[in-house]
């Protein structure tokens, strides 16, 4: 046992706080500090990877083992909505953006793609404000890295979104007869989207720890946001000025991109991609920064 302790000694965690501020060992200038801050979410997630995996495993088990049919529900729910859209919009010859429909399921896929992204967002937005309350016992009693809870919860929601996405690809393959090569870009779509959701979750969960109003606010905003987001229609029919305005809503970019690469098999507009990536990175680090700033207060109020 003594040997084990010595082996761990060099990288042993060291706590050093002066006047409420964590002391970072070593001398760094402003630029280096900024770089370290940008890296922090990633190094943190890597260091706590086993913990993240353990909690995530438990959450998924909890979600699906409490019911008889388990994972079947997770597949059936998106399948039913996909079937519904097909039945309702099946006769449409024109897509909302004016393109002709190639197959009866095109319209449904068009809507469904937007819905996957939007539902992913709302799931995070609804859960984030109460996230830290759910884990209060961990935060108060153990040295739990609170900033990793949003990571766990985002990964959890990713599994549901992936089920929907897989279903969409299968339908596209069966009814459309082919998958476009641009589908390979989906992982690249996922990375900024996850970054954006993580940033939002950091922000909302930190705010939610202090006031329950955050939850009510999200419940009020999200349904409105649904119409400000081109889920059921396309903003391409709008005038250019309005169109630009829609891009302020980051979900617009994500939904447009996923439609283009999955339903139409086209490369997305480079400008839209750049803007979306910029917005999501900004959200990611802003959210993380806000969470870290509030973190000490969070353990005290929860």
């Amino acid at each position: 046992m003594t040997r084990l302790i010595h082996r761990q000694a060099p990288d042993a965690p060291l706590l050093h706080v002066v006047d409420g501020k964590q002391v970072v060992p070593g001398n760094y200038n402003l630029v280096q500090r900024f770089g370290l801050f940008l890296l922090e979410p990633f190094t943190g997630a890597w260091r706590h990877r086993d913990l993240i995996a353990a909690i995530l495993r438990r959450e998924l088990r909890e979600r699906f083992s409490g019911s008889v049919a388990g994972w079947v529900w997770a597949v059936v729910a998106p399948l039913i909505s996909l079937v519904t859209y097909t039945l309702v919009f099946g006769g449409a010859v024109k897509l909302p953006n004016g393109n002709p429909a190639n197959s009866p399921i095109d319209y449904a896929l068009f809507v469904f793609g937007g819905l996957i992204a939007f539902n992913f967002f709302t799931e995070m937005a609804y859960r984030a404000p109460s996230l830290l309350h759910e884990y209060a016992h961990y935060l108060k009693q153990t040295m739990f890295p609170a900033e990793m809870l949003p990571v766990i919860s985002t990964l959890r929601a990713t599994t549901y979104a992936s089920i929907g996405l897989a279903l969409m690809l299968i339908c596209q393959l069966i009814f459309g007869g082919t998958l476009y090569w641009t589908v390979l870009l989906l992982p690249l779509w996922f990375i900024p989207f996850l970054a954006f959701l993580l940033g939002i979750t950091w922000l909302l969960s930190a705010m939610g720890a202090f006031t329950r109003d955050t939850a009510y606010l999200m419940m009020t905003i999200a349904p409105v946001l649904m119409f400000a987001t081109p889920v059921f229609w396309s903003h391409e029919t709008l005038s250019p000025v309005w169109k630009l305005l829609w891009y302020a809503n980051i979900l617009t970019g994500f939904i447009e991109i996923i439609r283009e690469i999955v339903v139409f098999g086209e490369l997305p507009n480079g400008l839209v991609v750049a803007w979306t990536v910029f917005l999501s990175s900004a959200t990611f680090w802003l959210g993380y920064w806000f969470f870290r700033r509030q973190q000490d207060g969070i353990t005290d109020v929860i």
């Binding site: 965690p13 706590l15 006047d19 086993d50 153990t142 040295m143």
Partner: protein, 256 residues
Amino acid sequence: MSSDDVVIKARHIAKAYKLYDSQGDWLKQQLLGAAKTYYKSFWALKDISFEVQRGESLGIIGRNGCGKSTLLQIICGMTRPTKGEIWVKGRVAPVLALGATFDLEATGRENVLIGGAVLGLKRYEIFEKFDSIADFAGIGDFMDQPIKLYSTGMRTRLAFAICAHMNAEILIVDEALSVGDIAFQQKCIDWIDNFRRTGTLLFVSHSTGELSRLCNHAIWIDGGRVRQGGDVAEVVRAYKKATRFEKDSMSRFSAV
């Protein structure tokens, strides 16, 4: 002893909790905090200084609400002191607090996996130690039952067993040892005795007998300050004497 052997160093630690009258005040503080203060400060700790050397056992005594738990939370890094300096070197294991984090629906086995991860063990380490943990807990087939079926004593056993296996350098034992039966208490005390040969112990207890037996130094915290520190026997004697005379007054909990 050289200063290299210091593992915990606390200098004039003070901790204030912000008390808001309403959530609106919290929002005002966030938005207009630079100009005005919208909360009342409750100083749970006012001025705490001490040092702990490697291999030392420090007892912490004090009456309810004196700030012991806050101090432990600060040492563990769960919360930060508002003022002063805290410096901790080494892996800290807060024993028994872990029991509170058990997931009641999950089995003992699953909770060992999660609890170990929460304490910072790698997955393979937990698997390696699993049999040893089960053996230490000594709860037999209950390991595969949901925790909600456990008695308080069984939960304590499992929690202690997990903590005992995390190769901590600093062990923090907070009261609650008294929950287990005599045989298990003895097992824990024996284990702690063994741990003291290599590690540092912080022991919080209202039982002055246990304190005197396990620790060589002690600090007595009263009203957020160190009232007395030094040799355990002296501190315990002074503490006992004081509690005999001082009334259990409500004013200790006033939040101003």
